[in-house]
Amino acid sequence: MRKYLYVFGLSLQNVLQRRATLVMDRVGGLAAILALYYFWEAILQGKDEFLGYSRSQMLTYVLLMNVMRSFVFTGRGWELVQEIAHGRISSYLLRPLSYQGYSLSLDLAQKTIHLASALLELVVLVALFHAPVYVPARAETWTLFAVAVAASSLLFFFLEFLVSCLAFWTSESGGPLFCFELFLNFAAGSFFPIDVLPRMLQELLRATPFPYLVFFPINIYLERVSGPEAFRLLAIELGWLAAAWAGTQVIWRRGLAVYAAEGG
């Protein structure tokens, strides 16, 4: 365990060392939140609610999207693709550590910094816009939300890892990964809540693990799902997490079996 803590610490230092890059990344990422915040402000003009979302719930959804994207959507998929394609992964396989554990440690360090930045941005945006932030009324909501966010972060890690493992079979896996990430962004509700979509499309998406990444955790926070329903959704999310983890183990082992260390 200690070696993974070292990896975590070194990764934290690495990210913080490139502060200009970090600040520029954060500034760029804010553009989407600003656009969507103003978009929903314009839509909600003169309305008390939209599709069951009160004004404060919808604007909180938008602001929380930034936090969720910062904590959930920071994976190491592109690095894994490159490391397999160039054979660099060989050196990790020789070391006394689990590559997935190593990746997760690096990822956690990134998530920690991006989460801290996102929370700071949230405070600034709320102060700047005098945004009507929704604060959960029930204490247990905070616990459920924290568990759902932690699970969705791990779920994204394993889903992205799974798709990135395509690199064991083809050197062209960047395209499928790009496609997967874009689809996931929309299907997770990280631009718009998925319940604005037509019923059929909604049902289709609800049958996938993607809405559990952003949409359901935020809905738990906004208390748009009742206590028992929140527990049911959390159980399904944990089920998806277990399935993604198991799938990753199988694909990883099969991938290593065909890995030829090309370029390494």
Partner: protein, 261 residues
């Protein structure tokens, strides 16, 4: 001179096309991703409008027009100026030295080094949707169409200026790897009419970061909502930004020391 540039561009485009064809699965994935982004964004806007009548006074067809115009400007810039994304790498790997000794302006050589045909394919559904949207907009005359086309071209020229500035920054600093990505992220603000943004942000997007001029002004011209003064202002922004970017590029080249090659 133009014929020569066109010949160089065509040759580079054919090579890019060949490269993309040889990267079959990868190219398909990238293309599918771009189409998914377009489809989902469009679907979300249409779905939201099934629950509301307007966005800052704009109807569904008008809002879609703004969104598609953003796509036309952004994708056209991607098709023609994608090579600029590799500017920093060209400096670091020393490729810029080769570009400088070739009988072609280095900026054109750099921009033409990658022609993204995947974006060209993405432009097809965008133009088809745009044509369908036009039929739902009443009272559009030839003057409005001419104004629209002129201002779309104007928007692409401003995008060119931004790309040249990014290339110049790469030559001067050999850093700022993500400058172009910040531009791409900021362009997200152009997906919606600039009028939805609050006072200060609207001014920023019209004056300092003219994303609104690039993407909203053409759509407003088509809808007959742009004053002649605003039209002249848009042309002025393009002329000023292009002049500045070319000066900045020349200045960057004059300071280039080939230090990394």
């Amino acid at each position: 001179m133009i014929a020569k540039f066109l010949r160089i561009w065509t040759r580079m485009a054919v090579m890019s096309f060949g490269a993309q064809l040889s990267y079959g699965i990868g190219s398909f994935g990238f293309l599918a991703g771009k189409l998914i982004r377009l489809f989902f964004f469009f679907a979300y806007i249409v779905a939201i409008f099934s629950h509301t009548k307007s966005l800052a006074g704009y109807t569904l067809a008008e809002t879609v027009l703004f969104f598609l115009t953003y796509n036309v400007v952004d994708i056209t810039a991607q098709v023609f100026f994608r090579g600029i994304y590799g500017a920093r790498r060209a400096v670091q790997d020393g490729d810029l030295d080769y570009y400088l000794i070739q009988p072609c302006p280095p900026l054109i050589r750099l921009a033409a080094s990658t022609v993204d045909f995947l974006d060209l394919v993405t432009l097809v559904p965008v133009l088809a949707l745009l044509a369908a949207t036009w039929t739902k907009l009443p009272g559009i005359g030839l003057a409005e169409i001419a104004g629209y086309c002129l201002l779309v071209l104007n928007g692409v020229l401003i995008a060119l200026a931004v790309h040249i500035i990014v290339a110049a920054l790469a030559v001067r600093t050999q850093e700022l790897e993500n400058t172009i990505w910040i531009y791409r992220e900021l362009m997200f603000l152009g997906r919606f009419p600039v009028d939805i943004y609050g006072g200060a942000l609207k001014i920023v997007l019209t004056v300092f970061l003219p994303i609104g001029v690039m993407t909203s002004f053409p759509a407003k011209a088509l809808l007959g909502l742009l004053s002649p003064a605003e039209g002249v202002y848009a042309l002025g922004v393009a002329a000023a930004s292009l002049s500045f970017s070319l000066w900045f590029w020349r200045d960057a080249l004059s300071r280039y020391t080939s230090v990394s090659s």
